[in-house]
């Protein structure tokens, strides 16, 4: 089993899909000749040609709108937003056209939008956001967010095979930092949560870049407490069964979002636990998230707003002592 970075795992999935299925095509800004802003599709144009690895104008609305049309007539388009922040320009095509197509006209839209998201590298307010909750709030769209190399590949395969529009949140900070063994060939990771580390005293629920933060935070300094880390992997659909199972076993819950706190994915998880996990709780459901501010350019200020290992560990200590 080869060891790949998170970024290589994404490339591998795209390459395998392009090779396996003629209906798959890629669209995006500078993904062809340049190989993509993060080099995910480096060299793809040479193997698959400009008709399947398509450089587009700087117009997200056009990219997604074109892809919706292609998907409706049977293609499997995968669109790259150069930064997830830019999807606001394609919002109408994705939320109103793609998301409602099946409900209005009974047509499947097998479309994947890749969203390089998240901060941690001084990208500033336009290049660091985590917009997944915008799409969680829009019926008709699935949202997934891998945290490991294997899941990056498996979830992307599953997203491409899914008949619905899928927002694929790929965290830029993990691109080259996360490595792992990744099965070769085409395989699907189900849209369910994963117990990244089993435990019994407290469960930390996270997804994307917050999963490695959680694992590091609970690795020491907690007096040997048994802390579970649950990696959601999929935000829509949300794996209620796995969440409630962890809550029932651990009874104390910490939820981490790198996104701004209000109405973030973690808020939905907290609401679910409050409603369906109440009788299992032995403490308040605590959230750690980025405050409701734009992401600062300044490295120390950015580090101050994003949930880090120290903040998560302190929150764990508080909850364990409660």
């Amino acid at each position: 089993m080869p060891t790949l970075t998170y970024l290589q795992a994404i490339s591998s999935a795209l390459r395998d899909e392009l090779r396996a299925d003629d209906r798959v095509l890629l669209m995006g800004e500078d993904i062809g000749t340049f190989g993509g802003a993060f080099k995910v599709t480096d060299g793809f144009i040479d193997e698959f040609g400009p008709d399947r690895v398509m450089d587009t104008p700087l117009a997200e609305s056009g990219i997604i709108g074109t892809a919706v049309g292609a998907a409706v007539v049977g293609m499997r388009p995968v669109c790259e937003m150069q930064f997830s922040d830019f999807i606001s320009c394609g919002f109408d095509q994705l939320v109103n056209v793609a998301g409602k197509m099946h409900y209005r006209q009974g047509l499947a839209v097998p479309l994947v939008v890749r969203l390089p998201s998240g901060g941690g590298f001084s990208g500033g307010p336009f290049h660091s956001q985590n917009p997944e909750a915008w799409f969680m709030h829009s019926p008709g769209i699935k949202v997934v967010a891998p945290s490991t190399a294997a899941d990056a590949k498996g979830l992307l395969h599953a997203a491409i095979h899914d008949p619905n529009p899928v927002c694929y949140m790929e965290h830029k900070h993990l691109y080259r930092r996360v490595k792992g063994e990744v099965p070769s060939g085409v395989f699907e990771t189900p849209f369910t949560a994963r117990v990244a580390q089993p435990g019994s005293d407290l469960v930390v629920i996270a997804y994307g870049a917050m999963v490695p933060v959680a694992l590091e935070a609970v690795s020491d300094g907690l007096d040997g407490a048994s802390v579970e880390v649950l990696d959601l992997r999929s935000l829509v659909p949300l794996d209620e069964e796995a969440i409630l199972d962890s809550v029932e076993r651990c009874s104390k819950v910490l939820i981490i979002d790198e996104a701004n706190a209000t109405c973030a994915a973690g808020a939905q998880v907290a609401a679910l636990i409050a409603e369906k996990g109440f009788e299992s709780l032995d403490g308040p459901v605590v959230r750690v998230a980025t405050p409701d501010v734009p992401i600062p350019f300044s490295p120390p200020l950015e580090a101050a707003v994003l949930p880090g290992v120290d903040r998560v560990r302190e929150a764990c200590r508080e909850l364990l002592a409660y």
Binding site: D201, S251, K252, F278, E279, S280, L281, D282, G283, A321, Y322
Partner: protein, 415 residues
């Protein structure tokens, strides 16, 4: 505390009442912290496994603190309260403080000049886990296991009971055997209405129950009966004006002299043969229960002496005037519930003794009597059946039969 440095604190301890009493339960306090009490006045009431009694104050002074709450059982010698007496241990000469002064401890220090009168109330006992709230999971676990959460020590923030605490409590509790059938066909009978009364058992009833159960769980109890012709006893007791019980008591003492193995204690592996016969006599207290005061050195008493002592202890028992030593040290017990006409019983041995004799009613019966020439005839005789419960761990049936035969011979030869 603003008590003067010359004040002396005197401890009020759980008294030693009789050799066998190891602990006592506070039943009532007659004083509160701050109250003044005179030496020898009753400061509290206590209950031991044998008797209830009052504890006299060891000194005159002011009660500074009460350390043992009502209902708590503590070992003999445990400090239950403290009394501040004046300097040199002498009760303060100044008048008792005014009724509205909450700091009477100043009384011994010279009266009104004391500057900080309001700060001297004794420290309130720390209320652990007071006014607690419980999380949903803790409440659910407690309800599933029928746990009283106020009994669960908390290790969370501020003594909060965490899930781990209630789970540990569940683990520490004895596990109930699961029923063989989840759905038992048994349905409890409905309680017939109306209920005439009831409620919690009295302390005396609980103690009697505990003693009786412990005896049955401990001893290998057997009961042997013998029939006795009481003609001579009846004639003699009419003449002396005493009860049949006094004659039976004397006969038992004489039989014990022949068979001393019945005048013994068996405590586990330890067997103690007694020289003195300290005779316990069961005295009914009516609805309240039963108590067994002891006539020490009963072997030194005549039938008349025994009759007088039995009358005395019965009167004092019914007047609740027994002291703990009055119920201590019995070596053999007689119970006599025959006044209602019952004829046989299987008494329970009064631990750690090894035998108890039961005297029931004396009833006129037609019996076969044999005269000196060997001629049988039917006669009307006052008869009784004596029952001896004995501990098969300490002795065997032959000895109990011999003992009863000796008692019979003594009673039938009373002159």
């Amino acid at each position: 505390m603003s008590s003067s440095p010359t004040d002396l604190l005197v401890d009020v301890t759980m008294p030693q009442m009789g050799v066998s009493v190891a602990e006592g339960t506070v039943v009532a306090w007659r004083v509160e912290p701050g109250d003044r009490i005179e030496a020898e006045a009753t400061i509290c009431e206590i209950s031991t496994d044998k008797i209830d009694t009052e504890v006299p104050s060891p000194a005159s002074g002011v009660v500074t603190e009460i350390l043992v709450p009502i209902g708590e059982t503590v070992d003999v010698g445990t400090v239950m309260a403290r009394i501040a007496v004046g300097g040199n241990g002498v009760a303060p000469a100044t008048p008792a403080p005014a009724a509205d002064d909450p700091s009477p401890l100043d009384g011994g220090a010279g009266g009104p000049s004391t500057p900080e009168p309001k700060s001297s109330s004794p420290p309130a006992p720390v209320v652990r886990n007071g006014n607690r709230r419980y999380s949903p999971v803790v409440q659910r676990i407690a309800s599933e296991h029928g746990i009283d959460l106020s009994q669960v020590p908390g290790t969370g923030r501020g003594g909060r009971v965490r899930k781990q605490d209630v789970l540990a409590f569940v683990d520490a509790s004895p596990v109930e055997e699961p029923p063989l059938h989840i759905e038992s066909p048994y349905r409890p009978d409905p309680v017939p209405e109306p209920v005439a009364g009831g409620g919690e058992l009295s302390r005396m009833r609980r103690q009697i129950g505990e003693h009786m159960k412990r005896s049955l769980d401990t001893a290998a109890t057997c009961t042997t009966w013998i029939e006795v012709d009481m003609s001579r006893v009846e004639a003699a007791r009419a003449r002396l004006g005493v009860t049949a019980l006094a004659f039976v008591s004397r006969a038992c003492i004489d039989a014990i002299r022949e068979h001393p193995a019945l005048n013994a204690w068996l405590e586990g592996e330890k067997y103690t043969l007694h020289t003195d016969v300290n005779l316990g006599i069961a005295v009914s207290l009516g609805d309240d229960g039963l108590i067994v005061p002891v006539i020490p050195r009963a072997h030194e008493l005549s039938v008349e002496g025994l009759a007088a002592r039995i009358k005395d202890i019965a009167r004092r028992a019914r007047g609740r005037q027994l002291t703990p030593d009055d119920v201590y040290g019995g070596t053999f017990t007689i119970t006599n519930p025959g006044q209602y006409g019952s004829i046989m019983a299987t008494p329970i041995i009064n631990q750690p003794q090894v035998a108890i004799l039961d005297l029931e009613a004396v009833v006129k019966r037609a019996v076969v009597v044999t005269d000196a020439d060997g001629n049988d005839s039917i006669a009307i005789r006052p008869m009784t059946i004596l029952g001896l419960s004995w501990d098969h761990r300490a002795l065997d049936g032959a000895l109990s039969a011999q003992f009863l035969a000796t008692v019979k011979r003594q009673l039938e030869s009373v002159s």
